[in-house]
């Protein structure tokens, strides 16, 4: 790492410019440096993002007229919360969504591991480069287009039906919950492959050689050495697969005619019941906050 020209600059007498005076002032005041650095990001995320969330969540506590659909600000009521906690449909939808999100994460972890391992430890550098490109490319195909392509594959006269009909097996149609699991696992798979690949790549070969020198068989080495080391990366990948599945509403509607948490929130907001949409949003927010806290404990944030 070189800094050409720096030596050249230093041969002249440094000009006491405004910038230099500012730098000197800052040099003795690390707190001011910190404040200047943090001001913009904190303001942005704090005001724009957290502020918007607060505005949304306030709506959960306000009254809405059934006929006109108007929400009256500062007309406090707990009606929306009573609704979501007493009506069983909200719990059903939540359980269904969390279940699918877990199933998607597990499926992606299982699918990602072989290819990530191959890329990280077996493939030649050129093959590794090619495989990386191959894994990244699908991310650049629009999410909507991929979801819709799956719809055409799964529908009555689509590709899957065409393949299965000679064997007498009926196609899945567009109303199976299984479809949502399949398509979501497909969509988020690259997000799982990449962190696991990075995690596996970082494991020094010396550790694995030492393990076999100590007499461990391949399976034991994998279980005792590789897995624990790659676990934070797995958790990092799972943050994406879990949260993206938890909040999605387009895929469940498009390929499974099912209602997930995202659908309930979206339907309520688009049909005029913002208080219920806001109240129900607290649910995935709470789940993800807990998930993120656990993930951070497990070291996933360094592997993102």
């Amino acid at each position: 790492m070189t800094a050409p020209g720096l030596a050249g600059d230093m041969q002249q007498r440094p000009v006491d410019s405004r910038a230099r005076r500012l730098a000197r002032w800052l040099y003795t005041r690390p707190r001011a440096q910190l404040a200047l650095l943090l001001a913009a990001p904190v303001l942005w995320v704090g005001v724009v993002y957290i502020g918007s969330l607060v505005v949304l969540l306030l709506n959960a506590f306000w009254e809405k007229d059934a006929f006109t659909g108007n929400v009256t600000p500062f007309a406090w009521t707990l009606k929306a919360f009573v609704d979501i906690f007493t009506k069983p449909v909200y719990a059903t939808v939540a359980l269904r969504t969390v279940g699918i999100a877990i199933a998607v994460t597990l499926a992606d972890a299982l699918l990602a591991f072989p290819i990530a391992y191959y890329m990280a430890r077996i493939a030649s550098p050129r093959a590794r480069g090619a495989l990386l490109v191959a894994v990244l490319m699908p991310l650049w195909a629009a999410y909507l287009v991929k979801a819709f392509a799956w719809r055409t594959i799964l529908q009555g006269n689509g590709f899957l039906s065409w393949v299965l009909t000679p064997f007498g097996i009926p196609g899945p149609g567009l109303t199976q919950l299984f479809n949502a699991w399949l398509v979501l696992s497909y969509l988020w798979l690259p997000y799982m492959i990449l962190p696991i690949y990075s995690g596996l790549e970082r494991i020094p070969s010396s550790l694995l050689e030492a393990s076999s020198d100590l007499g461990a068989k391949a399976g034991t080495t994998f279980r005792r050495v590789v897995l624990p080391l790659v676990f934070p990366a797995l958790v990092a990948g799972s943050i994406f697969t879990f949260s993206l599945s938890l909040g999605d509403y387009i895929v469940p509607d498009l390929v499974a005619d099912a209602k997930f948490i995202g659908n309930v929130i979206y339907d309520n907001s688009s049909l005029g019941n913002l208080p219920v949409a806001a109240a129900y949003s607290l649910f995935p927010i709470a789940i993800m906050l807990v998930y993120l806290v656990i993930a951070r404990r497990l070291g996933a944030f360094e592997s993102l």
């Binding site: 809405k64 006929f67 529908q155 009555g156 109303t175 309930v264 309520n268």
Partner: protein, 389 residues
């Protein structure tokens, strides 16, 4: 100029002042200015075509050229969605059905319309003027677009005998397990209530939109039975078009537009539709202007344009609904002979049997304080529960 006597002049001035004061409703546009260059509309899909599907059907590009108002049209999935879109403040107006219009008028989200600024308004059929769904306190709130009934559509290769009643999607639904195509909106509860009016008259349902608890629960039970028979719900009409094309659905409730689209394919999809003998729910759509529309002059120009003969003829033939002026009917004869007769455009007796979409209200929309009905929130919530479990 002939000299007027002073009393006559005063009378003349008085008459002019009086008519100025009374014909323009408060809150409506008083004079038409230049177009603002853009127009944001909320529409039912198919209401603002620019020749993309069929080059012969385009009533938008001509309007854009004439007025300079570039049209952005956003489709709504159902009326509740349309109401919410208008409340966002991002639109100048839209084509709303009766269950949306009365809510918008009550909430003050739409402005009354100054019909003096809409020359074509005088041609509108009397049966569509100053109705409960498009006016308030005798003041007009919009111009009509068209009206039509919801229909029963089926795939002729699977359903070989043509149905004449709604039974196949209710009690007869088990014959088409997993292939029923049903509209995904809470307003469909009214269709269940309509069916019960015939099948369970002892429930005493007189209006499928205003239901007591007992009547409502019976309707929901019927819908749950339908869901158990494997209903596939369409929120966007293209969803339904695709499921009929792919064979994933074979019979269901539809709008004439989907029938037209399916039959218009190359080769035509094997579908037929009918208005079953029990009657049906339906709609009468009105173009309304948002209260604080950013482009009111463009919106007024659009409202005048859409009820002009050529535009309304094309729009109603395209969608498959009844035109709203006699001149549009005459123009439609050149596009599709017999169109207005087939759609009963001027036959008001026919429309008495069609239950236009309207909002369920706790007051039952009558003057009887004794009865209470399920309101809009209860309908939406019951529908979400049905769909979510």
């Amino acid at each position: 100029m002939r000299r007027m006597t002073i009393p006559a002049a005063l009378v003349a001035i008085g008459v002019v002042l009086a008519s100025c004061g009374s014909s323009v409703p408060a809150g409506a546009l008083t004079s038409l200015g230049d177009g603002e260059g853009a127009l944001n509309l909320i529409i039912w899909d198919g209401y603002a075509e620019r020749g993309a599907v069929d080059k012969a059907y385009d009533w938008v590009t001509g309007f854009e050229k004439d007025t300079g108002c570039k049209v952005n049209a956003t489709p709504m999935t159902d009326s509740a969605n349309g109401v919410q879109l208008l409340k966002s403040g991002q639109y100048d107006g839209g084509s709303f059905s009766g269950d949306a219009t009365i809510r918008l008028m009550a909430a003050g989200d739409v402005a009354p319309v100054n019909t003096d600024l809409i020359p074509n308004y005088k041609d509108v059929f009397e049966g569509l003027k100053l109705k409960g769904f498009n006016s308030k306190d005798g003041v007009p709130y919009g111009v009509p677009h068209g009206r039509g009934p919801n229909l029963l559509m089926w795939n002729t290769t699977v359903v070989t005998t043509a149905p004449t009643s709604w039974d196949p999607i209710w009690e007869g639904g088990s014959s088409y397990k997993g292939k029923l195509s049903i509209y995904d909106s809470s307003i469909f509860i009214a269709d269940a209530a309509l069916h019960l009016m015939q099948k369970q008259p002892d429930l005493g349902i007189t209006n499928p939109y205003q239901l007591t608890d007992k009547q409502f629960n019976a309707a929901i039970a019927l819908l749950q039975q339908q869901k158990a028979n494997g209903a596939v719900y369409w929120g966007l009409l293209t969803d339904q078009v695709q499921t009929f094309e792919s064979g994933d659905t074979v019979i269901g409730t539809t709008w004439p537009y989907q029938v037209n689209l399916l039959k218009g394919e190359d080769p035509p999809a094997p579908v037929e539709a009918v208005l079953p003998n029990e009657g049906s729910t339906g709609w009468s759509d009105t173009w309304m202007i948002a209260k604080n529309a950013k482009h009111p002059n463009c919106m007024y120009r659009w409202m005048n344009h859409i009820i002009s003969p050529q535009a309304n003829a094309q729009a109603t033939v395209w969608f498959g609904e009844a035109a709203v002026t006699q001149k549009a009917c005459d123009a439609a004869e050149a596009i599709l002979p017999g169109h207005c007769a087939a759609q009963h455009a001027s036959d008001e007796a026919y429309w008495d049997k069609i239950w236009y979409w309207t909002t369920p209200q706790a007051s039952c929309a009558d003057n009887d304080d004794a009865t209470t009905c399920k309101d809009q929130d209860a309908w939406v919530e019951a529908w979400s529960t049905l769909r979510g479990t």
